[in-house]
C-alpha cells in the first residue's frame, strides 16, 4: 500500500479544518503510533497484519496533515528497545520496512510532485545492511524536496540520540574544530539526528499509555503532550482535531514557557562567553585589570570567533552525515 493517499477531505472535515486553521496551528507534529498489536488481538488478526494496518493509518494521517497545512510530521516507527521482541516479530517488522521503502522508491515521481522529503532518524547501523541501503536511497532521493517533511524514527531512542550528539561534539573537539567550552544547549540540539527540524509543537501518543518511552525527550521539553486512548490503527480525523484543539488551548502558556527558556539559554551563553573572555584576558593580560571597553570588545570578538568555529564544525558534521548516506547508495544492492 502506498505512502501517499490522494483525496480531499469531505465537507464536514473541510469545515472543521478551516475552523481549526483560524487559530494557531502546530507546524510540526510527532506521533507515537502505539496500539498495533492490541488492535490485531482485538480484531483476531495476525500481529503482522496489525502493523500493516498501522502503516496504512500513517499514510492517511499524512494526508490529513497536508490538508491541515501541517508541513512536518515525525513518527516513532521502531525503538531500539523493540529489538528485544521475538526474532519472528523483529524480522517481520524489518521485512515490512523493506517492502515499504522499496515501495517508496517506486513512487519517487509522486513524492517529487508532492515535494515530500523523507528523513530517517536513528542508529541506522543497527539495522540489516540491505534495509540501510534502501533507507539511504530514499533519503538521498527525496533530500531536495521541501514542501513537507516526514521523519521516521527507526532503531531510535532519545538517549542514544543525545549520546550520539555528545559523541559528535567530542569528535569535533578531537578534530580541533571546536573547543569543549563551545558545548552548549543549542550546539547539542544541532548535533541531534533531528537537527534539520524545529522542535515538535505537539506530541500525540495513542492507545492510552501515558509515557514518552524514550522518544524525542530533548526536543519535546516544551511541546504540548496529548495522550489519547484510541488504538493507532483506529485513529480518526476527529482524534487529530481533538489533539490540535488541545494544542490551541495550551498555546499561550507554552509559548510563554518557551520564551522564558530561550531567555535563560541566551543569558547562559552570554555568561559562558564572559567567563571564557575573563580567563583569556587573565592569561594574556599584563596583570592590570582590563577596562570595560576592552572587555566588551574582547567579548564581541570571542563570540564572533566561537560562532565561526561552530559553523565550520556543523558544516563538517553535515558533510559526514551526507557521506554516510551516499556511501550506502553507491554500494551494490544485495540480491
Amino acid at each position: 500500500m502506498s505512502w501517499i493517499k490522494e483525496g480531499d477531505l469531505n465537507l464536514l472535515e473541510k469545515i472543521s479544518a478551516n475552523v481549526l486553521k483560524a487559530g494557531p496551528m502546530p507546524k510540526h507534529v510527532a506521533f507515537i503510533m502505539d496500539g498495533n498489536r492490541r488492535f490485531a488481538r482485538k480484531k483476531n488478526m495476525e500481529r503482522q497484519e496489525g502493523h500493516m494496518q498501522g502503516f496504512n493509518k500513517l499514510a492517511e494521517t499524512l494526508r490529513w496533515c497536508k490538508h491541515l497545512n501541517i508541513p512536518e510530521v515525525t513518527v516513532y516507527a521502531f525503538s531500539i528497545e523493540n529489538f528485544k521482541r521475538t526474532k519472528e516479530e523483529v524480522d517481520g517488522l524489518m521485512e515490512l520496512a523493506k517492502q515499504k521503502f522499496e515501495r517508496l522508491l517506486e513512487e519517487r515521481d509522486n513524492l517529487e510532485k508532492h515535494g515530500v522529503c523523507i528523513r530517517v532518524l536513528g542508529d541506522l547501523n543497527m539495522l540489516p545492511l540491505d534495509l540501510q541501503e534502501l533507507i539511504a536511497k530514499a533519503v538521498v532521493t527525496t533530500r531536495a524536496h521541501n514542501k513537507c517533511f516526514l521523519n521516521v524514527c527507526f532503531a531510535y531512542t532519545s538517549r542514544y540520540e543525545i549520546t550520539n550528539a555528545v559523541r559528535e561534539m567530542a569528535w569535533g573537539v578531537e578534530q580541533g574544530l571546536i573547543k569543549a567550552s563551545d558545548v552548549s544547549e543549542s550546539l547539542l540540539s544541532e548535533c541531534l539526528y533531528s537537527n534539520n527540524s524545529p522542535n515538535p509543537d505537539l506530541l500525540i501518543r495513542t492507545s492510552g499509555e501515558v509515557r514518552l518511552s524514550d522518544f524525542l525527550l530533548w526536543q519535546t521539553s516544551h511541546s504540548c503532550l496529548v495522550f489519547q486512548s484510541v488504538l493507532w490503527p483506529e485513529y480518526s480525523f476527529w482524534n487529530l482535531c481533538e489533539a490540535i484543539l488541545q494544542y490551541q488551548l495550551n498555546h499561550k502558556s507554552i509559548q510563554k514557557a518557551r520564551e522564558l527558556h530561550r531567555e535563560h539559554q541566551a543569558l547562559q551563553q552570554l555568561e559562558a562567553d564572559r567567563a571564557c573572555v575573563a580567563e583569556h584576558l587573565q592569561h594574556h593580560g599584563n596583570g592590570k585589570p582590563a577596562d570595560a571597553q576592552r572587555r566588551q570588545e574582547a567579548l564581541l570578538h570571542y563570540t564572533a570567533c566561537r560562532e565561526d568555529r561552530v559553523q565550520d564544525f556543523l558544516e563538517a558534521l553535515k558533510h559526514k552525515r551526507n557521506s554516510f548516506f551516499s556511501d550506502l547508495c553507491s554500494k551494490p544492492v544485495l540480491a
Partner: protein
C-alpha cells in the same frame, strides 16, 4: 469567509472552556456520590474525555467514607498514619520516585508540603518537586520548613525520612537540559585533555554522570498539577519511562486525589519495548 471561520473558532474555544468548567463543577458535586452516577452523568453530557486534558483519573474512583479532606491534628494521627501505610502496601506497585510537576502560577508551599508528606507516609522513597520558574528550588529552605511543619501536624515521624534537597545540577537557574549540557562539557573537556576518545562515549557513561553519584532511580511517576499539558523542561533524560498522571491543581489537593493517582499508576503496564 476567513472572518466567519475566525468567529467559529472563537465559539469553539468558548464551548470547550464552558465544557471544562462544567466538568470541574460536576467533579466537585459528584465526588461524594457513587462512581456509576458520575459515569452516567459524563456519558449523558457527551463530554469527550480527551477535552478534559490528560486522561481523567476518576476512572478508578476510590470512595473512602473516612477520607479527610485536610490534615487535622489530634489523636487521629496514629490511625491516619497506619491507614496511609496500609494504603501504600495495598497497591500492586508503588513508585519509588515521584515527581511533582507544578505547571501553574503562584505555587502554594503548604499544599506541596502536604503532598511530600503524604508520599513519604505511603511509602514512596524519593520525591522531586519542580516548577517552570524554579521557585521551589530558589526557596527550598521555606519549602523544607513547611514540610517539617506538616510532618509534625500530621504526626509523621520525621526522623525516619531524610529530606535532601537535590538541585538539578548547579546553583544557576537551570533545568534538566542544562545538566545534560554540563555532563557533555565535562566529557568533551576530558577528550580535549586526551583522557578519553570520542569512541568511548556511551549511553551508560552519560547516565552515570547525570546521576551525580547519587543512586536515585529515575522517576516512575510524575504528578502534573495545572492546566498546561507539557513537561516544561523537567528532567528530560530521566523521564524516558515515566508515567504521567495529571491533576487539575495542587491548591487544596486532597490525599484521596493522590491515592487515586497512585492506583492508576499501579494499573499501568510497562512492556519495555517487548
Amino acid at each position: 469567509m476567513a472572518l466567519l471561520y475566525g468567529l467559529l473558532w472563537r465559539l469553539l474555544l468558548l464551548l470547550v472552556h464552558v465544557n471544562t468548567a462544567l466538568v470541574s463543577w460536576l467533579r466537585v458535586r459528584l465526588r461524594s456520590w457513587k462512581g456509576r452516577l458520575w459515569e452516567r452523568a459524563v456519558a449523558a453530557l457527551l463530554l469527550p474525555v480527551a477535552l478534559a486534558g490528560f486522561p481523567d483519573q476518576h476512572k478508578k474512583l476510590n470512595h473512602n467514607p473516612d477520607a479527610t479532606a485536610n490534615p487535622v491534628t489530634g489523636n487521629r494521627g496514629d490511625g491516619r498514619r497506619a491507614r496511609w501505610l496500609s494504603d501504600g502496601k495495598a497497591l500492586e506497585k508503588l513508585p519509588v520516585h515521584v515527581g511533582l510537576l507544578v505547571a501553574e502560577e503562584e505555587p502554594s508551599y503548604s499544599d506541596i508540603a502536604n503532598l511530600v508528606v503524604w508520599c513519604m507516609a505511603v511509602g514512596i522513597s524519593y520525591v522531586s518537586v519542580y516548577d517552570n520558574h524554579g521557585i521551589f528550588r530558589k526557596n527550598n529552605s521555606r519549602l523544607l520548613e513547611e514540610i517539617l511543619r506538616q510532618q509534625n501536624l500530621l504526626g509523621v515521624d520525621g526522623s525516619k525520612y531524610s529530606i535532601e534537597f537535590l538541585s538539578n545540577g548547579s546553583d544557576k537557574h537551570n533545568d534538566g537540559k542544562q545538566s545534560i549540557v554540563q555532563a557533555a562539557q565535562q566529557i568533551c573537556r576530558s577528550v580535549e585533555n586526551k583522557e578519553r576518545s570520542s569512541k568511548d562515549i556511551s549511553v551508560s557513561m552519560l547516565d552515570v554522570l547525570l546521576r551525580e553519584s547519587k543512586n536515585i532511580p529515575d522517576p516512575d511517576l510524575v504528578l502534573k498539577f495545572g492546566p498546561v499539558n507539557s513537561t516544561l523542561g523537567f528532567l528530560p533524560w530521566h523521564i524516558r519511562l515515566t508515567e504521567f498522571i495529571s491533576l487539575p491543581s495542587h491548591r487544596d489537593v486532597s490525599y484521596d486525589n493522590v491515592l487515586d493517582a497512585l492506583q492508576r499508576y499501579a494499573s499501568c503496564q510497562q512492556r519495555l519495548g517487548q
